[in-house]
């Protein structure tokens, strides 16, 4: 390997390392999860509350992943955020999913072109119905 190539390679690696180290020092404490509740609907039997919430997963710098999550909350929930029913990417100006209860089922309505990236069915014994309108 030529001396010039070695110098460029070492400089590049040093630059990358330095940038990561300085940035990591500055940003470590900024990782967080932000939540905004968009809608809530209590089940007719009162056992569950279905929620739609925007969840923003922040990696302190550079990366944010935002989804609309549909979750079931209640005394028997296993996940501290509520038991996950559906995740759908946030794509402005697409609307958040809407929710309702019908015959003991949780009905989740998406706009016609919207696609979820995760769906569990049933959740906590509650059947989920997905509709697109």
């Amino acid at each position: 390997m030529k001396k010039r190539t070695k110098v460029i390679l070492i400089s590049s690696l040093a630059m990358l390392g330095l940038m990561v180290a300085i940035s990591a020092y500055w940003f470590w404490g900024r990782n967080k999860l932000e939540i905004q509740v968009q809608a809530t609907k209590k089940s007719p039997d009162g056992k569950w509350t279905a929620v739609v919430q925007m969840e923003v997963y922040s990696a302190a710098a550079f990366v944010d992943e935002a989804v609309y999550s549909v979750r079931l909350k209640g005394p028997a929930q296993k996940d501290r955020l509520g038991d996950l029913v559906m995740n759908m990417p946030v794509n402005y100006p697409d609307p958040a999913p809407s929710i309702d209860w019908s015959d003991g089922k949780l009905v989740v309505v998406l706009a016609n072109h919207e696609k979820y990236q995760y769906l569990a069915n049933p959740v906590d014994g509650v059947p989920i119905v997905v509709q697109q309108k």
Partner: protein, 166 residues
């Protein structure tokens, strides 16, 4: 744990120098906060690249400092210029990172590796939403982030977005 939409802020489509609207990774027009100076970011990148050329350590430190503007709540974090997370600017926030990287002479692998390293830390802390499509190479980055970074780098590389000569 609270986030409030801040949609009172104006949003305008990101356009190239011919007025064409830039599409984000989601296939929709990439919006930027009204009045945000995209050219200023590119100019800073070019200046950082020049500085590294004749003063490598100073230039590298300056580059790291300017990259820090993309931190959560930083002055180049388009998603939070209003102080709260604004979902309209998800795609443009990462497109801007690609634009800065390209103008600053940071390679695709370098900028994606840096993003990946930060994301790895975040992944340990709170994971990603279930079902998030992840990149096969930069395994802690969602595909959407990689695609948007690429869009930003291509815009500058191709000259579709460039700052006027003084």
């Amino acid at each position: 744990m609270a986030a409030v939409l801040a949609q009172q802020q104006n949003a305008t489509p990101l356009t190239d120098k011919n007025g064409n609207v830039v599409q984000g990774a989601n296939g929709k027009p990439a919006l930027i906060p009204g009045g945000f100076d995209v050219n200023g970011v590119i100019k800073t990148g070019q200046s950082d690249k020049e500085l590294r050329g004749y003063a490598p350590m100073v230039g590298t430190t300056q580059t790291a400092e300017d990259l820090a503007n993309f931190r959560t709540g930083g002055k180049w974090d388009l998603q939070r210029l209003s102080g709260n997370f604004d979902p309209r600017f998800i795609d443009s926030a990462t497109i801007l990172i690609g634009m800065y990287a390209q103008s600053a002479g940071i390679t695709r692998d370098q900028i994606l590796s840096i993003q990946n390293d930060f994301a790895a830390v975040a992944h340990v802390i709170h994971g990603y939403p279930a079902g998030t499509p992840m990149d096969p190479t930069y395994t802690y980055l969602p595909v959407r982030n990689v695609t948007n970074t690429d869009i930003g780098m291509r815009l500058v590389q191709s000259g579709a977005i460039s700052i006027p000569e003084d």
